[in-house]
Structure formats: C-alpha cells, structure tokens
Amino acid sequence: MRLDWVNILATVIFVSIVVTLILAVASYFAYKVREARRPKTAGELRQEGQMKAFFNQYEPKK
C-alpha cells in the first residue's frame, strides 16, 4: 500500500492547529480562573479600601 504523505501531513497540521487553538483558549480561561481565585495582594486590598492593619503604629509621647 502506498502512503499518501500529503494527506498524512495535512492531517497532522490540521490536528495540531486545532489542538493548539483549543489549548490556547483553554489555557487563557484557566489563567483567568487562577487569577480570580488567587488571594488579593496588599496593593489590591489597599486600592479597594479593604486593607486592614494588624497593628497600630506606636508613636512615643514627646
């Protein structure tokens, strides 16, 4: 049986492009989900006005 290399290569290219695009879109959404779930940084909390101080700064009396 003679192999049709053009068809095989076309199939490989087709599958790799489609899989890559699916992977790219899925990875992008995975990144968005990960970002949404990560704990907020001090900068973001401060920006949203939710930053709570653990301690009050001590200022010695003069």
Partner: protein, 443 residues
Amino acid sequence: METNKPVVRTPMSPRKQAIISILIILAVVILTVFMFRYPERLGPIAVSALVVTLASFLLLLILRHFVLIWFSFLHQRELSHDEPPEHYPFVSIIVPAFNEAEVIHASLASLLELRYPYYEIIAVDDGSTDGTYEKMREFEGNHYGVRVQVFRKENSGKADTLNYGIRRSRAPIVICMDSDSRLTPDALRYAIRQFTDPNVGAVAGNVKVINRHNIWTKLQALEYIEGLNIVRKAQAFFRSVNVIPGPMGIFRRTAIEGTGGYDSDTYAEDFDMTVKILADGWKINYEPKAVAYTEAPEELLDIIKQRYRWSRGILQALRKQKHLLTRTSGVITTPLSLWYMIFEGLVWPAMNIFSSLFFVYIALMFGMQKLLVMWWLLLTLLDVLIAVHAILMEKEDLRLAAYAVFYRFFYILIIDVTKVFATLEELVGLDMSWGKLARKGRI
C-alpha cells in the same frame, strides 16, 4: 521587577462584561456553524476575497521577515565599524524590586562584576514582604570604588520606584533594570559607546533568556533572539527602537528628565517611556553586546499572564499617546514606530489566528490538502531560516533553531490568542492587576 499598582481604567460592570462576552462567543459559534454547514453559500466572491486576504498575509509575512533581516544586517554592519568610547562617563544603575528575594542576590552580585571603571548602584525596595530588603542590605556600602545604596519605601509600583531611584542618582547616564535580570560583565562598556552620538537619548540592551530548562523557556529564548532582538536591530538602523526593555534600558539623564520620569498610568511603563523619549526628538539605539539575562516564566499559564500584561500595557500606552499617531511635525519615525506597534500588537495576532483557521477550513471543506501542506512548509522553512540567521548573528546556541518548527504553529499561536483576548478586554475596559510572576531563582 514586578509590583502591584492601581488599575488604569474604570472597569465595566460585570453585567455588561458578561453580555459582551456572550455576544462574541455567539457570533463566533454562528459563523463557524454557517461556514461548515453551508460552505457553498459563501459564494465564489467571498471565497476569492478570503483567498486574496490570505495571500496578502503570506506576502506581508515574507516581506516583513526580509525587511527585518535586511535592516538588522545593516545595523550589525554599522556596529562592526564602531570604535570603543574615548571616555567612560559615570553611570547610575537603578534596581527596583518588589518581592524578589529569590533573585535579588544574583542580580546585585552581577552588577559588582561589571568591567566598567566608574558607576554606582541604587537598589530600591518597593515595600517587599519576602525579605528582599534584607538581602539588598547585604550589598550596601562601598565595593572597590562602587557605591551601593539601598533604599526602602512603601509599595507604590514599578514606575514610581524607578523615579525614586533616578531622583537619588547622580550620573549623566542612568541604567534602569529589572531585579530578575543579570547583566554580563561587558554590558555597560558596550552600551556606553552608543552615547557618543549626542542625539541618542537611550539605548536598548539585548535581553536573553537564562533559564532554558524546558520547551516553554527554550521557545521564549528563541523568541527573544528571533522575534524581539531582530526587530530591535532593524529599528535601530533608523535609531527608533520602540521598546526599551525593562531588564536593561540605558538612558541619558537629560532625556529621561525631559519626559518627567516614568508614569504609573499604564502597565507597560518601559514602552510608555520609550514613546515619550522618541516624541521629544531623541534617537534610540540598540546595543547587541549589552547583554542582560532574564528569568523567563517556566509554565504556560505564567507566560500567558506575562503576555497578557504586556499586550494590555502597550495598548494603554498607545491610547495615552494616540495624538502622536497623526503628528506631522518632528521626526517621522515616531508615528511610524507607533503604527508598527499597532500592527504587531493588534493586527498581526488576529491575522495569524484567522489565517490558521482559514487554511484549516479550506483544506477541510474544499479538499485542498496540498495547499495546507505547502503553506505550512513555506512558513516553517521561513521561520527556521530566520532563526538560523538570528542565532548566527547573536552567536547563540544553534540547537535552538530546531524549536522554530514549533514556533509559529504552536507557540506564537498561543501567544496570539492571548494577545487577541487581552486586546478585547482592554477595549471593553475589563479590570486587571499587575500579575506578579513567581520567581524560581534561576539567574
């Protein structure tokens, strides 16, 4: 260095965001179903139009590559005649850092090994919580004539931290670098030679990936050599480099002060600063021998995070400087650089995805497998040739050229999808944060 700073735009309401996202997804699904269900209804005119578009894309791609190769070659030839500088001016190196305890030691240590006679180091901690400041303090003092000053301030973002360091520096030449980067011993000596031209306001360094451990970092290493540096080299022929990279930017103090310093209103402060310097009429050159090694993200999601921020940051800076796009006075290269950035950032990624999808569609629906194979072979051959050319010019590891096979149809496609999503999100004004990358301490 990366840090957190305020979002640039007022975010759109979640309801509006959801409606827009659903509409976009719906449009894509309907179009896809229609194209596969009723290919004959597309009509010969529509198919011809698509084929012409794709042919133009291919032509543009080939043209782009050859133009880049030609001008980068001319720049390289120019450099080979360059003389070393007659004198070495005093240089201040600014190292901003936010939670970079893993890498800050290696970064500062590399600065003490520079073969340069007269410089100072100013390290600024941007309110880190991981012990970065304590590691910086180990370097404070005088090291064989090199004064290292360490400062600590409240977290306020990278742009503000750089300005803080610049204000405390004294030299006529200022280097701004990232704390996850490492300069090679001769980087400074080579960079300085570009300032013999009094019209040069800044010089972009040559950034390379240091952690080439897996396929992602190897692909990024190739991207830095083939994709980013060759573009900078070509732009440098016209003295109009449009991005001075964060890991190594060398500035004339008068140029940086003339712009009023770094602004905190975009996520791409390096691109923003570059545009401001170009707009002031300064030339910006590139020095391939001023090498800085940087730690690239090692996982796919971290790459996406980084590119997402770059894309949105560039769009924010472009929006901010949009008046320059139509500027007719001054040097023509400034608006041209910005238009090129729009092309590379907005048009090119969408065209790349579109062409990939379209060729798959054509091959499937019209039985044109041969065309698909020819297209793939042509582009891959082009990428391999350019990779070899760029690697040889940089005297880099030739084995990286093998990764060019995966470069366009795998890596760049993923990056382009991220760019398109980032563009859409920037256009609808979605909320975003800086996106701190976890360091592995590879530098």
